[in-house]
């Protein structure tokens, strides 16, 4: 019963930037996409293809110009800012290419940030953040500032932050883009382990090997889905 409703469903999703006829850019055109609970999806495509826009749309950070987006069966078009923020907080975890950690806050404080906007009582924040940090193996750097961490460590902290509210889906926008291949592979292993724990993962990349961790690869070209294929066996080794 539970799996009858797809986690993510888009119907004719279209995004056009710019109002005037001569300056407008079509970023996404008529995207129909269904993602079920527990999938590991990789979205690939050249830069400018619209894959980031799609991810932002899925992450409720952006509104489509037309089309429908149902998140966990819920129509999202008319949701208020507060309601959207609540959904992002509770059901979605973001991982960015450039980490986006707060530079002045410690590792622990960075991971606690989403809890701060949640309903969880403040006294449970630390405990919850610590368990997320433990999951990514960063317990030994709790009081460090981001500037004292390596790139891979930063991204693992960002992953801990993404999963601290136990979201249904984790959206990663080129999570290994700023990392060397070895570090990147550690990060991908971490993300893969989250998938194994039952998180739905959608990862954007333009590096094909990264995509091969996924169970399904979607290719975007010029704002449209050009291919959508399931991958039976996942590569276990990441190499550039």
């Amino acid at each position: 019963m539970k799996n009858k409703i797809p986690l993510i469903q888009t119907l004719g999703l279209t995004k056009i930037y710019g109002g005037a006829e001569e300056t407008k850019t079509v970023a996404l055109k008529n995207i129909n996409l269904t993602v079920n609970d527990g999938e590991f999806i990789s979205i690939i495509g050249p830069s400018g293809s619209g894959k980031s826009t799609l991810l932002h749309m899925i992450g409720l950070l952006d509104h489509p110009t037309s089309g429908q987006y149902l998140f966990a069966g819920q129509e999202t078009e008319h949701l208020s800012d507060a309601k959207l923020a609540h959904l992002r907080n509770q059901l979605i975890g973001f991982i960015f290419q450039s980490f986006h950690l707060l530079p002045r806050a410690t590792v622990l404080e960075n991971v606690m940030l989403p809890l701060y906007y949640s309903q969880l009582p403040a006294k449970k924040h630390k405990e919850r953040a610590l368990s997320a940090i433990q999951e990514v193996g960063m317990t030994y750097r709790l009081a460090h500032k981001p500037s004292q961490l390596s790139g891979g460590e930063k991204q693992r902290v960002a992953i801990a932050r993404a999963l601290v509210n136990r979201p249904k889906v984790i959206l990663a926008d080129e999570p290994t883009g700023n990392l060397d291949s070895q570090t990147g592979s550690v990060v991908l292993e971490t993300i893969d382990s989250l998938h194994k724990q039952g998180h739905t993962i959608i990862i954007i990349t333009h590096e094909t090997p990264t995509a091969q961790y996924a169970s399904r690869v979607i290719t975007i070209l010029d704002g449209q889905i050009s291919s959508d294929q399931a991958i039976s066996s996942k590569h276990k080794h990441y190499s550039k």
Binding site: A82, A85, R88, N89, R104, Y116
Partner: protein, 414 residues
Amino acid sequence: MSALLPIKESFRSLKTNLGRSLLTILGVVIGIVAVVLVIAMGQGAKLLILNEVESFGSNMVIVRPGRQPEGPADLANTLFGESITDREVKALQRPENVPDIVSVEPAVIVSGSISYQDNVYRPVIFGWTSTGLTDFFNIYPEEGAYFTDEDTRQRAKVVVLGHQVKQELFGDGSAVGKLVKIRGHNIRVTGILPKSGQVSSFNVDEIVILPYTTAQKDLMGINHYHEVIIRTKTDADPELVASDIRSTLRDLHNITDSTKDDFFVVTQEDMIDSISTISTILTVFLVAIASISLMVGGVGIMNIMLVSVTERTHEIGLRKAVGATNKNIMRQFLLESIILTLSGGAIGTTLAIALSFIITIILRNQYNLNWPLRLPLGAILLGVGMATAVGLIFGLYPAHQAAKKDPIEALRYE
């Protein structure tokens, strides 16, 4: 969300830019110092004046010609009114007219300077009775004596000098018995008053007193008086005396319509009322001026908050991505600006308290003024309240700018 967390967050972000935060609040500090200081000193000044007025004793009633001045332009009515002459003084002295009076002492203000040889000085030259100072203020000459009632009747050319006047004209030499010149008349000094400083509304050290008869007829050549100072019996109600005085003078002048009075009566209560009114108006006016500096401080806060919003565009985008609502962001930045101005308010209020303490000491020691130290709770609350309001008002726009940032653009911002 816990209530304390945003406050902690705000403090942290302000602390990371400590130098900038401190410079930013300087404007607010100065504004708050100005506001609180003006109020504290205004209150002190008002109390000082009220104390002095009260030192007259409530048994003093003053009658002046003209009508009660209703503004600075109206003062001429009082200064040039000629409606109080010997006839009026005699009428007031009759017990059947005003029963509760002890004495009626006319006074004349002499314009001009006083000189001895080559030394010229411009004190307040006051034609009065010999008993005025002793009766009201209990001041006796430290050298020589007051002129007598006989001197007053005879229009004797005699004078008592205030301490400072004597110093200016004679230095350390003796003055009693010497002749000074006022408006071309030679006048003999009979006594020197002790150093007394400010007593009631005038400075006794800067005063020269001579018989009112001499002042009126010989020096000024007029038939009227500038004011009449009336002492009531101690148990008399000053308002009742004032009303007796009014009806006596109205009868004398055939006035039926009280709005046509050509004189007015001032009791201690009236003086207290008008001093309170004036000092309140002055304080409000000065606070309004001081508030301008607070506004300038507020603009500084707004400026820095706008810079801060731009600097932290990434942070805003990220916070939105992980679940901050527009309201959360708004509240965070508003809180920061309020904490900024509130710390400015706290520092400013503390400084103002310290300053008013120092000023009070200086006034007491250097100017011999018994200036009361006043730190009205109202001023402190107003200072803190204004600081909060400035933070709120000038923080609103930057906070709104922060809240309305598009999360995607904010995250992409370089």
